[in-house]
């Protein structure tokens, strides 16, 4: 009994617990209103899993993937505002390479002009280099991450527009469709990609010393440097990773719509990703981080969006509704609320003991 009570107290102090509680609460509301929200089946014509819960995870892929990188950037005490713009750059570049022929309008078909590997590799490479540029400005230039990444946040969409002459290209190339609309067995491809990214990231930060380096630099950059960690290298690697992951998210986004959409692709993604990280329990001040928490945070955000669509919240109230739920989630996680519940469970434990 004593051991369980001790665990409960620790559990109530953890922000991740409260993120999970928040998600379960939202899902509970869904269940009360319409139990069939939870129905999952295999779509007979496509053989893919079909249901609102699948949609939530599927459509959270872009933010989840970006937020993995954002978690590290925030753990460093920084932030990356350029991720949304890089999503647009990635999509624009992929479409540009596949539809190189578009000067005047040409009917899209099942073909690619440049080799397909180029349309995948070049956007990822470009985004990684842009991330490295952010990291360089921060590490070597000594700039505030907020300002350094603001540069690409503002200019990134412009770069995407220039790449495509301000046009929206559409393609029908079927291998490209697989990324956002395909499936591996019964699982939608974005979920597969997202799982692979999350697992690789978790292995990279926890099975190597890199995670510890990040936390150390996030807590005290100078002390880390003096103890032999190359802070600059850590910073540049982290921002390159964030850029690379934004590139992946951009490919998924543009594959879903088989088109680049430089004005709307990745819009507000930086805010959603930061929010996912914060809901997941990583503090904006840097230091300790939790990739699992971030994943839950990202899924919470998508659950809210799906809730709005599913239950037909009127368009005008959508934003206010999202804000309200997020406010509740953040308050649930706040220090005083967690302390209150932790103390209650401690008290109850000591009463039982006594």
């Amino acid at each position: 009994m004593k051991k369980k009570a001790f665990n409960l107290s620790a559990l109530t102090r953890s922000k991740i617990t409260w993120a999970v509680v928040a998600e379960l609460l939202i899902l509970l509301v869904c269940f009360v209103i319409r139990p069939d929200f939870f129905s999952i089946s295999i779509q007979p014509s496509t053989g893919v899993l079909y249901g609102s819960l699948i949609d939530i995870v599927n459509r959270s892929a872009e933010i989840s993937i970006i937020a993995m990188g954002m978690t590290l950037a925030i753990a460093l005490g920084g932030t990356d505002l350029s991720v949304g713009a890089l999503v647009a750059v990635s999509g624009a570049m992929a479409l540009k390479l596949m539809r190189w022929d578009v000067l005047e309008y040409v009917t899209p078909g099942d073909y690619t002009v440049k080799p397909f590997w180029m349309a995948i590799l070049f956007p990822l490479l470009t985004c990684t280099v842009m991330g490295l540029f952010n990291g360089f400005l921060i590490a070597k230039g000594g700039m505030q991450p907020f300002i350094a990444t603001l540069i690409l946040m503002v200019s990134g969409r412009g770069i995407a527009q220039i790449l495509t002459n301000g046009k929206q290209f559409t393609t029908m190339y079927s291998p490209f469709r697989v990324i956002g609309q395909g499936n591996l067995g019964p699982i939608p491809m974005p979920i597969v990609i997202m799982t692979v990214v999350c697992v690789l990231m978790a292995l990279f930060v926890r099975k190597t010393a890199f995670g510890t380096f990040v936390e150390s630099v996030g807590v005290n950059r100078s002390a880390s440097r003096l103890s032999g960690i190359s802070s600059d290298a850590v910073i540049m690697i982290v921002y390159s990773i964030t850029g690379f992951l934004s590139g992946i998210a951009g490919l998924i986004y543009s594959s879903r719509i088989m088109s680049n959409d430089s004005n709307n692709a990745g819009i507000n993604y930086e805010m959603d990703a930061i929010l996912a990280v914060v809901i997941g329990g990583t503090a904006m001040t840097g230091g300790k981080f939790s990739l699992l928490g971030t994943l839950i945070g990202s899924i919470i955000i998508r659950t809210i969006v799906t809730f709005v669509y599913y239950f037909g919240i009127v368009a005008e109230a959508t934003m206010a509704f999202k804000a309200l739920i997020i406010a509740v989630v953040i308050i649930l996680q706040s220090e005083p609320v967690r302390e209150y519940f932790a103390r209650r469970s401690e008290k109850r434990a000591s009463l039982k003991q006594g």
Binding site: V48, R59, Q181, I257, V308, Y309, Y310
Partner: protein, 330 residues
Amino acid sequence: MRKLTAIVLTAAMCMGLAAPAMADIKVAFSQIGQESDWRTANTDSINGTIEAHEGWELIYDDAQQKQENQIKALRNFITQGVDYILFTGVVSTGWEEVLAEVNEAEIPLILVDRLPDCIDDIDYVAAFGGDFVEEGRRQVAWAGEYLKSVGRDNEDVNVVIMEGTTGASAQTGRTEGNLAAMEEYPFLKLVGQQTGNFTRAEGQAVMESWLKSIDKIDVLIAQNDDMALGAIDAIKAAGLVPGKDIIIVGCDSVKAAFEAIVAGEMNATIECTPLYGPFVESCIESLEAGEEMSKEVIHPEEGVYDMEGGIDLGTVTSVAAADVIDERVY
């Protein structure tokens, strides 16, 4: 000596710069951004016409969907002392102050496309734009008339309306037209209404959820073609046949919609022409000639395109998309 050279050079440069600038008519255009194929065609048409016109200089600003950028651009135009300002607002409200500044600077203001709510309180020389309410009416009327023609008007038909960006005049106008026309076809039942923000990605996500939350959807009214095209993918993923199981009516008439109609995946699109260049040209030419324009909002002539053609909507009769697809330039 060096000073003298500098003065002479400066003077020469000033004259050199001033001479052509004096002759040119500066036409400034504040565009809202490039959110869709339609917008791109609109920009190309207006900018192309102005640039090609002898003696006219184009000053163009792309506001990237932000009102504050547009306000900044308009103030820049005033400072630069342009001769004409072409303006379309990303949202319909909040323009009183900056447009009053344009009036104070006595720069002729030509309103195109999305007209601001404060249109009655400001001075403008001409206004040209689509009739969004009529477009919305035509969307629902097409569905109603088509269903009548196939004899489905004695059953309950479930309709969902996918709206554009909340607050945009295209959204408010088309929604007004949609809802008004719904009343004229009592067999149409409204079962869902949500914003898809005029984008393919959101149109897809909204449709995906609707297909799970609404038992039977017969008609999708999408307030632009991009959302309809996004929805088509979601409908396919749900194992349904777009264009058959669900009747899809879009708006704008972009080329991709024509292709979808010809492929049988979409049923109709209501035209909202982006080709404003010719109007802008004739408008500025007549103003330069000292003619006065009417304050009445001028609407372009627009069509309705569907699979087979021949659906009579009162003000217009639909044309088969396959017959005209090759003539479409956007």
